[in-house]
């Protein structure tokens, strides 16, 4: 697979007669699907852009092994809206409605990998909204966190604050 991609890259850079900066960028998902995007989209993805910059724009096919062809279109859609200045509350609400918990987490990882700040902030808020008001157990399951506290440690932690403040007895207030 890696060979496939690299041969593709070679053929592209050879076939390019005019390596102008406006050439489309090919993003290759982890499952080898190629997405052609405008260079302005690539600019939104810091990881991709720095890859292009490092090779002086000669390489225009970027493999993204961590991102699946299922998630990449969402990322591209968000970036397109972002460039157009059309990220509205309505758009974000619609965007997030389509996504289940697993997809939100996958996109969050993708946004982190691609270093797209706006998308990362937006998805942080989405994840926060989805775990807000939920029990500790739910949040652990959501993130796949292994509880590495002993039952004693956890019980203590849950009571820690109450314990710290037992000196502040409301009945004693008039002593101050």
């Amino acid at each position: 697979m890696a060979e496939e991609v690299s041969s593709q890259m070679n053929s592209l850079s050879i076939s390019e007669t005019n390596p102008s900066s406006s050439a489309t960028i090919s993003l290759v998902s982890g499952d080898d699907i190629v997405f052609k995007v405008e260079p302005t989209i690539a600019k939104e993805m810091e990881t991709v852009q720095s890859f292009i910059d490092e090779t002086d724009g000669k390489i225009t096919t970027i493999p993204l092994p961590n991102i699946s062809s299922h998630d990449l279109p969402y990322v591209i859609e968000y970036c397109e809206k972002s460039i157009a200045g059309k990220i509205t509350k309505e758009f974000e609400a619609e965007f997030v409605k389509k996504l289940n918990n697993e997809e939100v987490k996958e996109l969050f990882l993708a946004a982190n990998y691609l270093n797209i700040k706006k998308l990362l902030d937006f998805l942080s808020q989405v994840i926060a909204d989805r775990i807000a008001n939920k029990s500790v157990e739910y949040v652990r399951r959501y993130f796949g966190i292994e509880n590495d506290f002993t039952p004693e440690e956890e019980a203590k932690l849950r009571e820690e604050l109450a314990w710290t403040f037992t000196g502040v007895d409301p009945d004693d207030e008039d002593e101050n």
């Binding site: 942080s124 994840i127 775990i131 652990r140 796949g144 292994e146 506290f149 604050l161 710290t164």
Partner: protein, 294 residues
Amino acid sequence: MDDRISKLPEEILGRIISFLPSEDAFATRVLSKRWRPLWHVYPSPNLDFDDQRFLRKGEPYFSFKDMVNVTINERSEHQPIKSFRLRCHESHDSFTGEFSTMLLLMATAERRMEYIDIHMSDNWKLNITCFMFCFSNLVVLKLKFVCLNLFISANLPSLKILHLNSVYFMEHGFILEILNACPILEDLEMKNISNGYWSDEYDEEVKKLNNLIRADVSNVSGYDIDLDVFSSVEFLRIEEMYGVVPVFSKLTHLEIVFGGSIHWCFITSVMKNCPILQVFILEMPLTPNIWTSY
């Protein structure tokens, strides 16, 4: 997949925590050893406490209060608080003193705060000192069911929204000083204002609020604020009218609560001075004495 999220750099996890309501951010310390310190290392600049959310999780009330205190007290000066929102539905008088201390601490540490919204329960009026009236970066200030006993001075050069609902001022002059300290105020709501005593020291009048767009003023216990103060508004809801009627050149929506000091002839003269008025609502409370006023 799940593992990958939990193994992300702490900074990224901290970012998620900083978007959580304060109660939930605080609870993340119980998730695992790795998560435990994060809420403290990456605190949200926006504090948002609501006792209902907390109580729904079955936590005892005193831990809500402790959590609020700890969240604020454990912040360093380099971790600014941009906004502070506190909702208390339960009434627990014994905690009032501690919240005041907490708010005072917050005040000494934080001058960069932009948003304060404190809404207490109606039978638990929070006693606070008026430190927040000196926050020069404050843009929004909303207080409901709050008692203001002490007053030092007011300076609110950035304030655009001021909502005071069921607020008790120890002295009547406080509120006049506050209004005169908000040069760019755009949205003013004052309802059910009461005060402890009337002092002769304050004979100042409220200056005209040139940037005001919306004013909703009712039941303000005898503050006779001249109509001219509101002359730049587009929305006006008012119960009492004083002074010369100015021209309301931008006013499109006018609501008058009929009664008190408002006479029919006054209403007519106000209407004459609203050239672009689109909506006029006259509220007629069913009290027996309103008809005797005219």
